[in-house]
Amino acid sequence: MEFYRSHVLVCTGTGCTSSDSRLLISGLRKELKDRGLEKEIQVIETGCFGFCNLGPIMVVYPEGVFYCRVKEADLKELVEEHFVKGRVVQRLLYREPGATVKTQEFNNIEFFKHQKRIALANCGIINPEKIEEYIARDGYFALAKVLHEMTPAGVIEELKKAGLRGRGGGGFPTGMKWDFAYKAKGDQKYVVCNADEGDPGAFMDRSVLEGDPHAVIEAMAIAGYAIGANQGFIYVRAEYPIAVERLQLAIQQAHDLGLLGKNIFGMGFDFDLDIRLGAGAFVCGEETALLTSIEGKRGEPRPRPPFPANSGLWGKPTIINNVETYANVPHIIRNGWEWFASIGTEKSKGTKVFALAGKIKNTGLIEVPMGTTLRTIVYDIGGGILNDKKFKAAQTGGPSGGCLSAELLDTPIDYDNLIAVGSMMGSGGLIVMDEDTCMVDIARFFLEFTQDESCGKCPPCRIGTKRMLEILTRITEGKGTPEDLNNLEILAKTIKSAALCGLGQTAPNPVLSTLRYFRHEYEAHIYDKKCPAGVCKALLSYQIDPEKCRGCGLCARNCPTKAISGKIKETFVIDAEKCIKCGACMEKCKFGAISKG
């Protein structure tokens, strides 16, 4: 191996690639070469650091200097200053929200300080396209340990004692799931990885696949050994091209080194992996639907039991876990169950990855011990609400979850606490909302989503969610009646108990939880015909404040429907009949004279 004095890690996750990090890499390589530094400084493409809103991100080791939003035009200066003269480029350093001094040291940043990285341990550290770097970080040693020292039952026992629960939604104990498949009779068994991360606002699985694909491959091979399967499938969304590419490469590399294929480590264990692409159907994240989709059919769910552990892919015993769950497995095997069980809360062990997004300063990917409070996540790691507005709610669990209100900020987050407050862990999307978000509109947004994604097989979901959506739309249009709230609750309860699969059973959750914590907003829409957050267009009206209006006429010139009239230097007025509530006038007014309400 070549010896370099410095390593530059550039994130090539989806977030940063979208911010053109690839152009940056080629530019950087060229700049280094022009200055004859290409032998001293190595540029490494790496996975997501979880700090997506600051992309493209660059970390220079050994100093650990953290640069963000680096543009091509900055490269010349960066190379000249940092690599030739050895001076840190101050203006490109990360600046913590509210802080005036730019942070230089990567690990001292508030964003990273409260985190504990297990599933994301390698993301942003290793080059995901080099299997050797994974191995250098103890990769594939867990597989070696399992094959040399442990029985299948011993592996399952280890996971059970560690207390690992499924990270994809329901939180079912992983060890138990494997045990069912281990005990199921069958000559052929399968291991499946659910990487059909469909929850809007969740991207943790994508980041693991892009940043550390071998962790998933190693874990699936361990699972294969534990239950007696020698074939695995990874079902990935087609919307994640970078993840698919890296996985394909990783599988190839593992094959080349004999870490997949026949007679692994000479211990007589065979294991192979294939990738299957999703085709844009949210319901395929449900395990039985996913299995039908791998079989090449319409991805419709089927009733359980039989559970996949007994009758899964092509009727054979199958285990199915999500990406993050697998990513924890090699760490548990290497470090032992006691280590894992010492992290987290009584019934939720380990850590959880959250995709932090919405109206928050530091959007990105974080991993915290189970039991961390929402307040720590939002204020310490997330840096608080955008533009220092007021926190209104955090949405967890995607379309199956619910909204947590401000009074729940100090609740420790784990599986059971979230269910107790009417939400769920889900896959880990955590979307922060401020005073400008209308909770009725959010409930409608999620119902629109589930209604659109309902596969149509069972009537409670197909018809029930449609009726709920109609009621919600009516309320946001100011046509709601007092009975609507009651009807929503009846429908919600019926769908929850009668729908066939997880998608339907959890679809009413966003409505129920917003009704529980934000009922006053529904009532304002229904009784006062007002949208307190100023989102629902039909309930808005725009006014010009005569005190502030200087009569410049800019609003009138920008109004697409000519609804504003007046004489220059006199107060202008808006004709409510003609106004389409586009808000163009408010945006343009230089004096803040136009308000909505």
């Binding site: 191996m1 004095r5 410095s6 001293e40 650990g64 050895g86 050797e132 770097e133 040693f141 480590f265």
Partner: protein
């Protein structure tokens, strides 16, 4: 992959390169690479440090660079920091005396006092 040994060898081989990225309390050699230092040959010094470390297989030593500390007349400067100890700054370092600094200071634990910058004076 036919045995655990093979995996261990591969790990050992790659680890060498990766250890650069972890900040553990290991000794650090810092070459001061301000404009003045470079003009005085800091780059040759740096390369000499790297090749000496590689030749002796000393991978648990960090090599890093920093800017000019203001003592331009003493350039090139090299600082050696060991955990828990005060940093030692060597002045007017050449690629020839790099070898001796590494051997005496880092391996034998005897800083070469006559080459150090004496700030009291």
């Amino acid at each position: 992959m036919r045995s655990l040994e093979e995996l261990k060898n591969l790990k050992a081989k790659t680890e060498k390169g990766l250890s650069l990225r972890e900040d553990t309390g290991k000794p650090t050699i810092t070459v001061h690479m301000g404009t003045c230092g470079i003009a005085n040959g800091a780059r040759t010094v740096l390369n000499a440090v790297l090749s000496e470390l590689q030749a002796r297989n000393l991978t648990d030593i960090h090599v890093t660079q920093t800017g000019c500390p203001g003592l331009c007349y003493l350039e090139p400067l090299v600082t050696i920091t060991e955990p828990g100890k005060n940093p030692f700054v060597y002045s007017k370092v050449s690629s020839e005396n790099v070898k001796k600094i590494i051997v005496e200071h880092l391996i034998n634990g005897r800083p070469i006092t006559e080459w150090l910058v004496n700030l009291e004076k």
